[in-house]
Subunit: 160 residues, 2 copies
């Protein structure tokens, strides 16, 4: 169970969830660039995410950061908790992105995951704060996002 | 000049800017619901903006809020300042949106517009903080956004 965040089927599960359930993820052409014990990295091309200045639209940077933070929270929760929502988001836009967008979210530490799961089991819901770094093709930090996500234990009859 | 925020051509100018320059605005099917001296209200249907739970995707709420705040900042700036970027964004998600999304941004007060324009003329750039309220079909507040936008005086040779 503790290894499930690294389970290879998360890659296809997340991709399927976004492809089937979130049309904007498809419109943004978001793909999973890396998923392992350490990180979830999402990538998206500039073209569908550009603004009238030819750089990445702020709403696209927010969208990809939310998908990354949401994915990390879902993976940190045990299998039963399928319901994850965003509660708060903060983003600082540092420099324009003029090429492929990368959103990098580190997996929470084992201690943070354990505390999150204990609270979830005890209270039926638990909060996880996930920082996401946005980089453009130059590799420098283009934006910094911090999202506060809440997971809920899905009820037995939940369709999710 | 002081009346330009209410000029009827802003409606078609903003719509054209988004339709031509920001593919995600088209994907989100964002439309201007109201634009007058008091408010800019953007609306978007749920279908292209839904998540796997059947409510609005957080990234869509961010995207529509950014377009609203950006539009207000552009209209508050004098005609010469075509270049507006977002610097910081904060959003609190209060309840899910299960139908049409509305993003309501109040026009800044005449005093705030005057100060913004004075700074812009003096420094070549100026900051405007724009709160945006997101409502769903129930009219209650679903999310609160605060964006910090920066306008720059476009150079004479700017293509924008």
């Amino acid at each position: 169970m503790e290894q499930e965040t690294a389970a290879p089927d998360w890659r296809s599960r997340l991709a399927a969830l976004w492809a089937e359930g979130i049309p904007l993820a498809t419109a943004m052409e978001v793909e999973i660039g890396r998923l392992d014990e350490e990180m979830l990295v999402l990538v998206a091309p500039l073209a569908p995410n550009r603004n009238h200045m030819g750089t990445a639209f702020g709403g696209s940077l927010q969208g990809i950061a939310i998908l990354a933070g949401w994915g990390v929270t879902l993976m940190a929760a045990p299998q039963g908790a399928q319901h994850v929502i965003i509660r708060n988001a903060q983003m600082r836009f540092i420099e324009p992105v003029s090429g492929e967008i990368r959103a990098e979210a580190e997996m929470p530490s084992p201690g943070a995951v354990a505390a999150f799961r204990t609270t979830l089991a005890r209270q039926g819901h638990a909060r996880l704060t996930v920082p996401v770094v946005i980089r453009g093709p130059a590799e420098s930090v283009a934006a910094r996002f911090v999202g506060e996500f809440v997971a809920f234990v899905a009820s037995v009859n939940s369709p999710g």
